[in-house]
């Protein structure tokens, strides 16, 4: 996407603006000394394959399903209603 996106669009928050309190924090980071080792950190965040969850479908319990439906914000005639989708 080539067009510039403002923070209110990025955040999906109407009329959102950057705040002075937060910008002050970012100024500190910009000036901080990191010894230019930005990309030298080695992270060992790998997992053992045996530790992964089995790639199987687990059915939710009836109660779980009922609560998920109950949490849905809008329904009509037994259907769950989503907002109108537009294409740009």
């Amino acid at each position: 996407m080539s067009k510039i996106m403002t923070v209110d669009v990025l955040s999906s928050i109407k009329d959102a603006q950057p705040s002075e309190a937060v910008n002050k924090l970012f100024e500190v980071i910009k000036k901080a000394n990191t010894n230019n080792n930005l990309n030298n950190a080695s992270h060992n965040n790998a997992l053992f394959l045996d530790d992964l969850r089995a790639d199987t479908v687990i059915n939710s319990s009836a109660l779980e399903k009922q609560i998920i439906i109950e949490n849905f914000p809008k329904s009509k005639n037994g259907y769950l209603v989503v907002s109108k989708v537009i294409e740009e």
Partner: protein
């Protein structure tokens, strides 16, 4: 070793009290309390569970140590069928479809949840004022804040409404309110306790943390909820900490403190003098105390908030009112997202989401976000070196005493800076315990990763020393 859990357990098995009477008494206290600690009372299920415990005892069956013990849950944990609001408008009618691993382990051990507890919405705050349920009032002075974000949990423990509570600590949210309300609060090593079912704020530092009135109760609860969980790939297997392993602190020879935390203008004079007095008392016991160099407080706070905001912007992007939450309809889908989020998030949450999206944007990520990651690595490295030289690091919990209710909302930047002493240990993913001793707002005890045993040992030593 003092322990409310042990005391109540003995009272239950000796039939000095019934579990039903115990639970009813605590529920009454919670219902009548004016500190705004309660988002929802779980009275019906709590009394049903209590009746089952009484029946077991009446039949002469053995009950476990945690069986029948009343506890509180910060309202960011899933407990199936209960409202889990994150103290927010967006989720004020959201019901948990499942139960968090840590909470399930307590249920399996027979502990009885009484209350979903108030705090800063989505963990966004250090005062428990960013909430739709009213600012949580300090346990000892209702004009002051309780601290946050787990303010309701700390106050409930301090006031004996719950025997222990389960808070959440991302940058100090268990330790700071524990300090403000003079109770114990543990942020364990990152990964020791499963985060599954804890609403994500900043996933790389989010920790489940117990709050209680004794070191022994912290140990009991920690043992009950620790462990590897396939539903949280950052968890690791840990050993149970036996009671006798924390009673003797002879292996602790050298401790350290960060001199820049103490030698600066931001610290309250009394907090500083109390801390230095504590150091002298420790030295008098023959322990070597080293003054250590560390990152400036402003760098720590800025690093933490940069990363936490980036992560929360990402984690909270799912909250758009589509599948759940308080949807406000707009003209189309995008408008619906935008209105729903702007009307339902608190000002503080919006500030953090916007900040997070700023640092993740092209043109900013190198200068701020990636630099924040590099700083975190440097902070972790610093800790690794420190723990080659010392066994334990102690520090104040906060630079200042709790502010008056209303003050933090007026000055968010000052609120961020009030986390100066807690966020570093979060970035380092280290086990850190607040104890209600040493300064007006307590003391933090930190050890190397996965060394909670040493933290609890030193806490016992200080309990007898200070």
């Amino acid at each position: 070793m003092s322990s409310q859990i042990q005391t109540i357990h003995k009272q239950l098995i000796n039939q000095d009290i019934t579990c039903t009477a115990l639970i009813q008494q605590r529920l009454d206290l919670l219902k009548q309390n004016t500190h705004n600690t309660v988002n929802a009372l779980l009275d019906k299920t709590a009394l049903e569970l209590a009746a089952k415990v009484d029946l077991k005892i009446a039949k002469g069956e053995t009950i476990g140590l945690l069986e029948g013990i009343p506890f509180g849950i910060k309202d960011v944990y899933m407990l199936q069928g209960t409202y889990t609001t994150a103290s927010s408008d967006l989720l004020k009618k959201y019901k948990s479809a499942y139960t968090a691993t840590a909470i399930q382990k307590l249920l399996d051990a027979g502990a009885i949840p009484l209350v979903k507890e108030n705090g800063d919405s989505f963990g966004h705050g250090s005062s428990s004022e960013n909430t739709i349920f009213g600012a949580v009032k300090n346990a000892h002075n209702p004009n002051l804040v309780s601290g946050g974000s787990s303010g309701g949990s700390a106050v409930n423990v301090a006031k004996d409404y719950t025997v222990f509570s389960i808070g959440g600590d991302t940058g100090g949210s268990v330790r700071q309110p524990a300090g403000y309300n003079n109770v114990y609060g543990l942020k364990p090593t990152y990964g020791r306790i499963s985060r599954f079912g804890l609403m994500a704020y900043a996933s790389s530092t989010d920790c489940v943390g117990p709050i209680a009135k004794s070191i022994e109760d912290i140990r009991i609860v920690l043992n009950a909820i620790s462990g590897k969980d396939i539903k949280d790939q950052t968890t690791y297997a840990s050993h149970e900490i036996p009671q006798d392993s924390i009673s003797n602190s002879t292996q602790i020879k050298t401790i350290g403190y960060f001199k820049n935390f103490i030698e600066n203008d931001a610290i309250d004079a009394k907090v500083k003098s109390d801390f230095l007095e504590t150091i002298e008392k420790i030295k008098a016991k023959g322990i070597t105390v080293k003054a250590l160099d560390f990152f400036e407080s402003e760098t720590l706070v800025s690093t933490y908030y940069t990363l936490a905001m980036a992560e929360t912007a990402s984690n909270l992007s799912r909250l758009d009112g589509t599948n759940y939450g308080n949807r406000i309809e707009g003209d189309n889908l995008k408008e619906t997202y935008s209105v729903t989020r702007s009307e339902n998030f608190s000002e503080e949450s919006k500030r953090r989401i916007v900040g997070g999206n700023q640092v993740l944007s092209q043109g900013f990520s190198d200068a701020i976000y990636l630099k924040g990651l590099a700083l975190r690595d440097a902070i972790s490295k610093n800790f690794e070196n420190d723990f080659k030289a010392v066994d334990i690091i102690i520090s104040p919990v906060t630079p200042n005493v709790p502010p008056k209710i209303g003050d933090s909302l007026k000055n968010p930047h000052a609120m961020y800076l009030s986390d100066a002493y807690t966020v570093g240990f979060s970035l380092g993913q280290l086990p850190t315990l607040t104890i209600p001793q040493g300064t007006t707002t307590g003391l933090q005890i930190t050890a190397a990763k996965n060394n909670e045993t040493l933290v609890l040992k030193f806490a016992n030593f200080l309990k007898d020393t200070l």
